[in-house]
């Protein structure tokens, strides 16, 4: 075996953190390392800026990268110390105002660092800034944006304008000739194993071809055609309540939460709710206009890379069944995710939340049945993530990024499912 070189990413952060010295105790664990939330909410996004520095996000980094990370963190020492003081100030104010909602670290950490960068350390006895910050955090900033949206679409003129645009856009999307064979073969490479650098590079090239291929677009256009021949049913996949897909509406509460059933206004509303950095969004009229086109695009997504990722996700989703011991997988990635899901199901057995092969209490039957239809929640969540990326124009052109998105969605759906299985058991404790 070759001598392994490199440094675990988290160890690098830990050491750099300790090098800052005193002043960051409230952001640290008892043994002096950074709190998990310090890493998640401050170091990763605001100090290392993983979005623009992907080399800092690898699980094992080179010595050079490690040195750069170390340097960056230590150089931010004064800001981190100031952020720590801000956190103490906000916590005191939180106690004074008897605020008890939300996780203080989760909510306040990013703001504290922002304050540290813009204002330095807090002035002594400055209650006002702290009180203002807490007010901003706890009074639901997203309410205002959603109110603006409601007012905007309350106008009949606006609705009819959007409806006209919707009719035109919907008609513009037509399926071209479609041959799925070569495309699915390419997906096999994308979702297959890559154990060498060369294979990994080849896989990236194939993905480049896949997202330039018209097949995902055509498949998405075809799901709205009566009697079209498709490899799957969008109803069974949980993407739509009817097949073929219906033209979406401008507004009105959908009778279903299926991605392709949702109205334009409903879709904009989720964008506003999810938006952490709302300033970066276009204003409401533009957002609605854009969303009309997006709702009419194949799979309800504008980016061809997003459409391709959704199709890849469908191919994975149909092979996932956490409680099925004998699930066959065509793709290595699906097999790997399935193996994880099986292990996570084992944890439920080991914790007496599930008996071998089924519910441990009849009350859980519904959730256990849901687990058998794993593709539906999986694709709903994948679609929501892709929708977000589509709105913010974040690319899905990196094959490893796409694969880790497909894995991450499985992880969060599994956790969600398992928490429901637990909750169904614990109902009786409360009742």
């Amino acid at each position: 075996m070759a001598v392994a070189v490199g440094h675990p990413r988290r160890a690098v952060i830990d050491q750099a953190w300790r090098a800052i010295g005193p002043g960051v105790e409230v952001l640290s664990t008892d043994d002096g390392g950074p709190l998990s939330r310090t890493v998640k909410r401050i170091i990763d996004p605001l100090v290392l800026r993983l979005r623009s520095n992907p080399q800092y996000s690898l699980p094992v980094v080179t010595s050079e990268t490690a040195a750069a990370m170390h340097d960056l963190i230590v150089r931010n020492g004064p800001e981190l110390c100031a952020a720590a003081t801000w956190f103490e100030t906000l916590k005191l104010e939180r106690r004074r105002l008897r605020i008890r909602t939300g996780n203080a670290q989760e909510l306040y950490f990013p703001v504290c660092f922002e304050l540290a960068v813009t204002k330095g350390a807090p002035a002594p006895h400055d209650h006002q800034t702290a009180a203002g910050v807490l007010q901003g955090i706890h009074q639901g900033r997203d309410r205002t944006a959603i109110e603006v949206l409601q007012q905007y679409v309350a106008s009949p003129d606006v609705v009819s304008m959007l409806a006209d645009q919707l009719d035109r856009s919907w008609r513009d999307v037509r399926a071209g000739d479609i041959v799925t064979g070569p495309f699915l073969a390419e997906l096999g490479t994308v979702l297959g194993p890559a154990t060498s650098h060369r294979a990994a590079a080849a896989r990236q090239q194939v993905w480049n071809a896949v997202i330039a291929d018209a097949t995902p677009y055509n498949l998405g256009a075809l799901v709205r055609v009566e009697a079209a021949e498709l490899p799957w049913s969008i109803v069974e996949l949980g993407l739509s309540s009817v097949a073929p897909q219906r033209q979406p509406r401008v507004s009105g509460d959908s009778d279903s939460d299926r991605p392709l059933d949702r109205s334009v206004v409903d879709r904009v509303r989720s964008t506003l709710r999810r938006a952490l950095d709302r300033d970066a969004l276009p204003d409401i009229p533009l957002l609605c206009e854009e969303e009309v086109d997006r709702a009419c695009a194949p799979w309800g997504l504008l980016g061809e890379d997003k459409q391709a990722t959704l199709v890849a996700g469908i191919e994975i989703a149909v092979e996932l069944a956490p409680l099925n011991l004998n699930m066959a997988s065509r793709y290595a990635l699906a097999a790997q995710i399935q193996a994880r899901l099986r292990k996570e199901a084992y944890v439920l057995h080991a914790r007496r939340y599930l008996a071998a092969g089924g519910p441990i209490h009849p009350r859980q039957q519904q959730v256990v049945d849901d687990l058998a239809a794993y593709a539906q929640p999986y694709l709903s969540r994948l679609w929501a993530r892709l929708h977000g990326r589509d709105v913010w124009q974040e690319p899905c052109d990196d094959v490893d990024g796409v694969r880790s998105l497909l894995e991450g969605v499985a992880r969060s759906v599994s956790l969600d499912h398992r928490q429901r299985i637990k909750a169904m058991l614990e109902l009786q404790v409360a009742g």
Binding site: T29, P59, A104, T195, Q338, K343, Y346, R352, A355
Partner: protein
Amino acid sequence: MRLVADSGLWSSGPVPAGLAALPLVAVLEVSGAVLSWTVDEPTAATQITFTDLSRADWLWRVVGESGHVAVASTLGTLAAPVAEPRTIELTSVDIVPGSVGPLRRLAVGHWLRRWWPASRRDGIAGLDRALLDVEVALLSVGAQGFFTDDTLDSDLAELLVPHAPALIMHVRDDDPRIRDLVRAGVGLADDIGIDGVGWPELFAILDDSTAILEIPAGGRDDYALAAGADVGPRGATPIARGVASINWSAVPPAIFDAGESNVDWSVAVAGSAVVAVVRAAVIGPDPATGVAVRVRSGAVGGGGALDAAGHATLTLVDTQQRPMTESAAWDHDWTNTSVLVGAEVSESRQSRERVRRWARARLDGPADDAFLAEILAGESSY
């Protein structure tokens, strides 16, 4: 360190116990891996099953930096172990002594919540659920470096939320160990923003310590005993009777007495029907309502669900669903009658015995890693 293929995943240490030995397995789900131990083998190796090595950003804490890099570079160049069993030796990689101790203790805490064999028959006292959950939550905070991703075991709010009423009772306890634990738990709840029944009151009590004096005294709810557990079949002489044992992994915890032979059954005539009367010994605090029960004896059988007290009366029918007649019942050989409570699982009586032995030893002389709830249960047994 030796890595072996375990159902498509790489795993260190021995291959995990099958489902039959489940009552003995303590697990902890951390970011990118599941750790497991056998509860009554404190010195046995930790088993680490990697669900996603790239998410296991804590590995260096357990095997050192070079170990972490060695594992990552070795597994990074290998396909998932899907085919035949495979083994990899990583000669220079070992678990750093002491590094997994706190994780094992946390896993045991989770295990205690679900498998502790409380039994009136066996004299194994129940554990105080509120104190146990608070201690598990506090240990989880200490292990936060292992929960970069949310996992089944990273949700602290869920551990604390139900317990405000019980903690209100504990806040004024004479025992300083209890008071300290409760205070630490409430401090944590304050930080993570817990809301729910009783919490505003609990926060208010600790904000204003003089208020403590106004709280009415309340007893500790060690384990609520449901009534009527030991009642045997009454009335006319039964046609047959016997006992059975419940598989722990077939039923949710905190319902049944964990002793062996905890189900009494009898066959009797009720009106024109032949019925099986089943009485499972319950210990609570949760009711047995809805738990499935099945009686089978040769070609006859019956099924249904238990009531809150663990009782059920099942009409016996043959394979064609025809009711059994009284004369057929007297002629029937009831020797091989099985009574199945809960789901159908395989579980060995031997592993239950091992758990009881281990639990008794913990109560008799508290272990170094004992939870306060165990210590208190041990003290109450004298």
